[in-house]
Symmetry: C2
Subunit: 466 residues, 2 copies
């Protein structure tokens, strides 16, 4: 582990601020100095990591709609009160609950080997054990060409390629097609079940779960599971050797009716324009295989800690800073849609919204989607946070994170502090998403960037709307 360059002395940051920005008019010098102090405090603070440790240890895995997610809301409420937020509340909503249940997938022919597998979100149960031959498809395109009914009595296996690691996560959306819509083709072609190669960049033997997409408002009527990359490699090699493969699959994952979920809202009430809201957050739910440390305990830790540091300033910023711990993100952005609906009449007062939901590695880029005048403000913030190793990216990049989409679609301006996602898809949605994967110093860099950025927007008079 090399010593991060942004862990310099506070003096260096202060000197930087005094010399380089002396001519810039938009952000007053006093605010710049405050932002620099916030970054300095954040880099020295363990608060963010402690929050993730507490959430993942005391609550554990917390599937959207589960009793564990309800415990997470209580945890969030308690945390908000302990940290001295001005207003702490839960906004409930209802949602359909999908339960993973138990799954066994065993290769039976040419020999018996337990496969590392997990059900995909929304999958139907097998009722009883299915024993069937595998039909191999090299990728989703090959499966899409399967004619209606040709897979009757068979289990389809859709291979693919291991996701290439990238800083931006490019490639995930494309690879994710087999997880999202593979079932529609397999079901149409008559398959008893579908197995897909996990979407992820890890060569470890972990399956990657995630939600499927609906088709005409319907969920899959067949079991759909993902198997790990090494297991998919093994099936591919056996297939290429000309072996006939059969598999036993037993799954009792299923939909279990309506349940309650909710968003936890922590507010620091603005001192001059309390009605104007600067919204940050992460999602409180996680997939149930790991403890949701990088997805998205980290986002909760980063945004709550950033706001908590701002709350220690002698005076509240002008605008309200709101941290939303979104519920039920993984299972369809349900908390995000509930928030946008419940606050529909007040979205015009949301001056900016952004979410941290891409792991716990360092932030490398600041992008925005605000009006031209406000872009000047964001540019200037970019300069202030640049000593953290962050470059200024596009000023017309819409979307502040998954849970921001419903708000952004209704005109709320967004920024995003893009994290290095290189290792994210090694862990994301797998059983390996646990606390030990987070490097506290990298998390602290995130908090420094959020604290400075959010403070400067909240203490500004600039209107950011397009």
């Amino acid at each position: 582990m090399s010593f991060p360059h942004w862990l310099g002395s506070s003096l260096a940051l202060s000197v930087f601020s005094l010399s380089l920005f002396a001519q810039q008019p938009t952000i007053p010098q006093e605010q710049k100095e405050t932002a620099i102090k916030l970054m300095d405090s954040a880099l020295k603070s363990k608060l963010g990591f402690n929050i993730v440790e507490s959430l993942t240890t005391e609550v554990g895995p917390r599937l959207g709609g589960s009793e564990a997610e309800a415990r997470a809301r209580d945890w969030g409420l308690k945390l908000g009160n302990e940290l001295g937020f001005d207003k702490v509340s839960i906004e409930e909503f209802t949602m359909p609950f999908w339960d993973r249940g138990h799954l066994d997938v065993v290769l039976n022919t040419p020999y018996k080997q337990e496969l590392s597998a997990t059900a995909l979100g929304g999958a139907a149960p097998s009722e009883r054990e299915i024993k069937a031959p595998i039909v191999y498809f090299r990728n989703i395109h090959a499966l899409a060409e399967a004619k209606d009914g040709v897979l009757k009595g068979k289990i389809a296996f859709v291979d693919g390629d291991m996701m290439v690691k990238s800083q931006t996560g490019a490639g995930y959306g494309q690879a994710n097609q087999r997880r999202r819509v593979g079932w529609q083709h397999a079901q149409r072609a008559g398959a008893k079940a579908l197995m897909v190669r996990s979407v992820g960049s890890s060569s470890h033997r972990f399956p990657h779960t995630g939600m499927m997409s609906q088709h005409d408002n319907n969920w899959a009527e067949i079991p759909v599971v993902a198997i790990s990359n090494p297991d998919a490699d093994q099936l591919r090699r056996l297939h290429n050797l000309g072996e006939s493969l059969t598999v036993s699959l037993h799954s009792d994952s299923k939909w279990k009716g309506e349940v309650s979920s909710g968003n936890v809202i922590l507010d620091l009430i603005g001192s001059e324009k309390p009605e104007e809201i600067v919204l940050i957050g992460g999602h409180l739910d996680s997939w149930d295989l790991g403890t949701g440390a990088v997805d998205d305990g980290a986002g909760i830790g980063i945004t709550v800690a950033a706001a908590a540091l701002i709350s220690k300033l002698p005076k509240r910023p002008k605008r309200t800073i709101r941290v939303v711990m979104f519920g039920a993100e993984e299972v369809g952005l349900l908390g995000a849609f509930a928030y946008a609906k419940q606050h529909e009449g007040n979205l015009h007062n949301h001056v900016i919204a952004t979410e941290s939901d891409f792991g716990a590695q360092t932030i490398w880029q600041l992008v925005s989607d605000v009006n031209d005048d406000a872009t000047v403000l964001i540019d200037e913030i970019g300069k202030i946070i640049s000593p953290l190793g962050i470059v200024r990216g596009g000023s017309d990049v819409a979307g502040g994170g998954p849970d921001i989409i419903p708000m952004q679609q209704k005109g709320v301006p967004t920024i995003r502090l893009n994290q290095n996602g290189r290792d994210y898809f090694d862990l994301h949605h797998t059983p390996d998403d646990t606390l030990d994967k987070i490097e506290p110093d990298e998390l602290a860099q995130n908090i420094a960037a959020y604290a400075a950025t959010i403070y400067l927007i909240a203490d500004s008079d600039v209107d950011l709307k397009q």
Copy 2:
């Protein structure tokens, strides 16, 4: 991946040989040149990797005593014939069979979380599900101090520390005590079951299996399981928070009576002293969680490929080269003891024995345990293989690998080509031991070292006995 320095041109190796060793009398120049050509061929050959790929793909996991291990023997026989060995045979033996069966371990209090766990070899079944409170022990020493009967109605959990990575694997033996003998203390103290922190250096969520030790010729009468390092971290954190922990554990692992196993023997018959045997090998069985690529498909691939390259020489070396694919190593060196017993009357003719069973990373050191005159030969071999990045280590280091122990105890001289084991305990005995973890170039370096070393000993007249 950096370009390995030993992947130089064959010319460089040849020049080296001609200049540096011109004054050395023990190994004739012609043999040196042959050894160098063997190394050169090995570095260019894919045979070793292809063998591991074939074994792990076509046979898969192969627990000692299982039908899969019997298929592995057939595979070994076929391979030996295809590669043109002079004599190919199976030497059977009987052994008690332990079957892993199915295991579920779920944390119930303070919340429900499935733990990543596996049974340890030799463990008893739970009969029905055990639900019990956990008693936490910081390490094996703390458990050893538990008084008789104090764990009645409880499940003991022995924590420890994650194994530190090292080139030599130092630390494994010590960490392994909790796996080996932990059960004796837990059982004596009345525990219903024992959970131990996995022995391994991986922070991934894989449990590490392995055999327990007997006590007074008895196996454990309680279920004993290992949980992954991240799961152990989680239990430790919860314990440190003062939480009461309860666990449900259901295991049907058990002993299932006597079965057949065997060693596969591939011989290249010596051209002048066929009765003198240079023995190399690896073990054919694997643990059943992964496909046994690094443990010990690699050892099979390395030693078979090395001998196969020697078999392509115009003339057989003077002594017989024997590759033994040992059976049932993981479950107690059973093939090794069977071999030493079945060949008891002929062990004096085994001029040297060595095994490859420490993964697939590069060899860095050559050690030996032979007589003083023979040490000169080994020193000289050390110089010949040094361009592979191998240094000469101790000349009084007894033991040529796990399966060599029974022979070495009866006086068979040994050498060992020590591999870099830094990443070995990330994979060893876990579900993550799969083909993708092997770097073909590193495997080829092993084969080069084995081919040269074994050829030079087999074509020598030097007696190596102490």
